[in-house]
Subunit: 177 residues, 4 copies
Amino acid sequence: MMELVVEQGVHATPMSQLARESNVAIGTIYHHFNNKKEIIEEIYKMIFKDYGVVLMTNLPEDDFKKQFETIWMNLYNYFITNPLAFKFSEWVGVPPIIGDDVVEQMKPYYYNVRDFFLRGIKEKKLRNIHLRLIVQISYGNVISAVRLKDKGELPMTEKQVQDAIDCSWDAVKYVGE
Amino acid sequence: MMELVVEQGVHATPMSQLARESNVAIGTIYHHFNNKKEIIEEIYKMIFKDYGVVLMTNLPEDDFKKQFETIWMNLYNYFITNPLAFKFSEWVGVPPIIGDDVVEQMKPYYYNVRDFFLRGIKEKKLRNIHLRLIVQISYGNVISAVRLKDKGELPMTEKQVQDAIDCSWDAVKYVGE
Amino acid sequence: MMELVVEQGVHATPMSQLARESNVAIGTIYHHFNNKKEIIEEIYKMIFKDYGVVLMTNLPEDDFKKQFETIWMNLYNYFITNPLAFKFSEWVGVPPIIGDDVVEQMKPYYYNVRDFFLRGIKEKKLRNIHLRLIVQISYGNVISAVRLKDKGELPMTEKQVQDAIDCSWDAVKYVGE
Amino acid sequence: MMELVVEQGVHATPMSQLARESNVAIGTIYHHFNNKKEIIEEIYKMIFKDYGVVLMTNLPEDDFKKQFETIWMNLYNYFITNPLAFKFSEWVGVPPIIGDDVVEQMKPYYYNVRDFFLRGIKEKKLRNIHLRLIVQISYGNVISAVRLKDKGELPMTEKQVQDAIDCSWDAVKYVGE
DNA sequence: CATGAATGAGAATTCATTCAT
DNA sequence: TATGAATGAATTCTCATTCAT
């Protein structure tokens, strides 16, 4: 049921359409969720729970840079292959729809990502700057690439993707004190 | 009249409130604009026309890196001191509200920014990657910093801002073939 | 539901009143129809589907003139006893509210009336003039009578009705080449 | 000024357009008329004052039937050459926009038409039926013809117009007791 | 006399949510 | 548990009219 909802996307679509597209009656939806906000939060949870797993998939051993690049590509590919998840995460950020409590709930799912960055900083693989900043910049760089592809502004050839990764890495890699 | 509109912001606010907040009657607004989309597009134009000028203000002579940093700070400061403009530009991107024609109209205002990046690439100050990509990454990095500040996630001290700039510069600076 | 709508009439009444008078919420109306035009067209269809049946009711055998008079009276009585249908059909004609497609859809319902006139012409009971003209004149004559009655300009006594019928018949009856 | 207004037509056009089309400022219109109803009534007066004159133009001497036909054609031609006046008179009838007092004021302008019909009845050129009825039927017949032409349903060739006139005449001509 | 920006009540329509079946 | 008709507050937009210049 929820799968359907996500597949179809909630974007800014009215509940009525959402119901029609999911082939469930409106009433049925309100059996499972109390209101629209709850649905959105549930999708939010679904998607963001994924992140923690998705991002850390297929990490190569040892080489920190390669690990960074793999994480980068994992996120990039996730968004490219799940454009609805991308749209949704773009959507959801703009007006603060998601309650702070929900955001808080999700934090544990990022612990491994956070730890990756923390380790990078500690081991002098990454710049010694505020964790939140380095994460945001990295995330933002992936988003930049995805947007260019998504809006059709760039084809994002293999080389262009590699260029974007290179930029990202040089942005955050350790450069000495 | 339009100044008021921008000051107050359009957020996702209903026309009625927008009118009340601007101290003009709804009818008055529709005397000047044909529909909501047109208002939004007009604000879009106002803000984005600024960019070309704002970004290139107080550029230091000669040193490309310093110029880049100045542009970076110009945009950062513009958004920090005009949070409504920031909110608005975040808003406006998400569902494609702005007609392609309007976007096209605005391009000339960025020519000087574009030329700055083009020159940087040609003069081997910047990486030799696709213009659109390098611009988007740079822009995205500023936005990342502004967001952290805007959402109160980071205080963005002078050092943190400088860190962000450093990341940005290292992301795009020339690194040899 | 639709019955209510017709009973109450659409005059030029706002949807809101229409809803209130029908004792349904506005939303409910829009649950069944997409917009005002659609409501009007639906009423149009209801009324005009009646015509084909109403007009040909109780036709006497054989005597063409008597048949003509019966049809005339059928329409006259229909409008007199359904003043809302009359008002509605007066309304609806003036600016072309009804889509051509809907008008086209309704044509089959008039086939028997059309055929009656065609037969009359062929059998030299009616003037040999353009079908559309002879129909319009006959229809117009009924409308003239109904209007006089409706606006209270004439009581339309039995004699006056008969006078009107006589005029109509003489207007269209066969008069030799 | 008023000429312009009529030329452009009032149909159901908003005052704002009416002003724009007349190349007069809205304010100016409200200098001359107190409200929209007054404008419409003024146009109504203009057009209907014409009638009395227009209808009785170029009446042939003596032959009553020829006079009837001339009046018929005068009205028909007036509407065909002044489609806006036709539209207007169709419009104006439907919801009772025009105040009864105004209608009353106009009556004197029809006296000559009324007298023509009265004379016809008295002189046994016309059926001895209620004046209002015979006038309405005659008027209605002209309108029927104009409508067919106006809506493009018939080309209204010379023959078709003559057919319509013949119908009209036979509808009202004296037929003995 | 002429102007047109300003007004705001009211119209059409949307959509999250409820509730009887 | 599932349904979807019903709801009505909220939203966008229209248009007759006013009034300061």
